[in-house]
């Protein structure tokens, strides 16, 4: 076999190998989803969604955890979104001339890479102990808000950067102040991108488990929170809890709860991808 034929063969083989590798990635995802659905789907029911936790697997439900997750999501969004968007706007629109811009830049990059357990430690010391919030929804949401802040900032900056310079100049040339330009032109034009970032960040927050464990979520909470200082459970924590129980039926519950969690995260991701595509098309 001459060298050219060998090269062509290698090329053909790689085409197959590459396809297999890609399929393997997708296949693993499929296997894993299939296993989950097979185990957990039968357990999903109105009763499962609306029941309190219980020592009897067949009676137990995710009512508390689901509402806890919703509470966390809302509070986290309330805390993180204004901060993240404002910080992103500052860094992109004001901060660039400032001397500490480079510092902020490195800071944000590094924050994005800090493992989530470390945020848990921060939350434990600052929110749980120092501010005496205890293992409350507020403490958890504050911790997760800090965790997703870098994601929000980066997303906001990217969205803002995509707004053409001509739009800013047009506004400024009409006598708009910097903030008026941002408020009336830059933010509306980048809203799609920012919203995408917000949703992706929230989907991350919803699935986080380790920081919640570190700030000390309780094992058994048979009621949904009614105010920010209440104790809570959350879906990932409930799942972790059930996983660590050896009885098979709790494994089934865990699978069912995972399906619910995945519906939420995949749903959020889907919405984000949809919004991103729509927003990209709208860019002038």
């Amino acid at each position: 076999m001459n060298s050219m034929a060998r090269n062509r063969l290698a090329d053909r083989i790689f085409r197959v190998v590459g396809l297999l590798a890609t399929l393997l990635g997708l296949l693993l995802l499929a296997i894993f989803l299939w296993g989950l659905l097979r185990t957990g789907l039968g357990r999903l029911s109105g009763q499962f969604l609306s029941s309190l936790p219980s020592r009897f697997p067949e009676r137990a439900g995710i009512y508390t955890a689901l509402l806890g997750t919703v509470w966390i999501m809302v509070l986290t969004a309330l805390l993180a979104v204004p901060l993240g968007v404002a910080a992103g706007v500052y860094l992109e629109e004001y901060g660039r001339k400032r001397r500490w811009a480079a510092l902020l830049e490195i800071n944000i990059t590094n924050l994005a890479g800090v493992p989530s357990v470390i945020y848990g430690l921060l939350g434990l010391e600052v929110f749980v102990r120092f501010l005496r919030l205890g293992s409350s929804v507020l403490a958890a949401a504050s911790t997760l808000a800090l965790l997703i802040l870098p994601i929000l900032i980066v997303a906001t900056r990217e969205a803002i950067r995509a707004v053409p310079r001509s739009l800013r100049e047009a506004s400024l040339a009409l006598g708009a102040t910097r903030w008026q330009t941002i408020w009336y032109q830059v933010l509306p034009a980048s809203a799609g991108g920012i919203l995408t970032g917000i949703i992706l960040a929230l989907s991350r927050a919803v699935g986080e488990t380790a920081p919640l464990l570190v700030i000390g979520v309780l094992a058994y909470v048979p009621f949904a929170p009614s105010q920010p200082l209440d104790e809570f459970s959350a879906l990932p924590v409930q799942i972790f809890n059930w996983i660590s129980r050896p009885q098979h039926e709790f494994g089934v519950n865990a699978a069912a709860a995972i399906i619910v969690l995945l519906v939420i995260t995949f749903g959020l991701n889907g919405v984000a991808i949809y919004l991103r595509n729509r927003w990209r098309q709208q860019l002038p």
Binding site: G35, A87, L104, L122, T209, A210, P236, L262
Partner: protein, 291 residues
Amino acid sequence: MKTNERLIEALLAMSAGVGVLTTAGILWILVVEAVHFFQQVPLSAFLTDTQWTPLFADKHFGILPLVAGTLLTTAVAVAVALPLGLTIAVYLNEYVAPALRNTLKPLLEVLAAVPTVVYGFFALTQVTPFLQRLVPGLAGFNALSAGLVMGIMILPLVSSLSEDALGAVPRSLREASYAMGATRLQTAFRVVVPAASSGVTVSVVLAISRAVGETMIVAIAAGQEPRLTANPLVPIETITTYIVQVSSGDVAYGTLEYNTIFAAGITLFVLTLGLNNVGYWFRKKYQERYE
């Protein structure tokens, strides 16, 4: 009007300051608690002792077993994600039509959107029993299946970011190679991958950093037994697992035992910080220059 502008700028700057405060807070907490720790445990013991038993009567404070556990699971994960991710990146970039590529990439990225507690469940209940049939002597908690699953989790990080880097290599370089009679494979590995090497490196570094900091998969599936070993078949403990285990077990506030989680935390922080900055530095320094 002017004052209004100033006020707004100040408010925005304060928001940006929260990021700095967060970093400062993390550093402050880790350092303060770790200083307490190192007042009682010499740094040399921390770095050289081969046992980590801070909660027992016979106390040892060697971080090495935890670091070894962390590196072991990371190594397994990278051993999965690097070849697979790079193959996928090259395949998507060189062999697949853009339309298909644009569907396959987000599909693969779904793998990174799965909450890690879910992966932990998967590793423990599916992967480990499956592997136990293939590998005799595989413990119920082990670094292998946790690492494998973690590899799946970081796979899209490698494949997507590397593909972005490969896609940024100018067409003219590819054409030059094809025009010399190169096959796609030769073009990919002799021209495109080397030209995009810094982008590929960054993606790998980021993936490693993610694996080092990952908590739930290892906490659920890798065990809680600090041990200085390179054997992926036995239970080990990672730094992150230790932090979760001890902090959720409520060790007495202000005791040496409590401070150990911050000593472990600062080790983890330094590891990931180092990796992130290597990545950042690479990106800044070697931003691809082609022509």
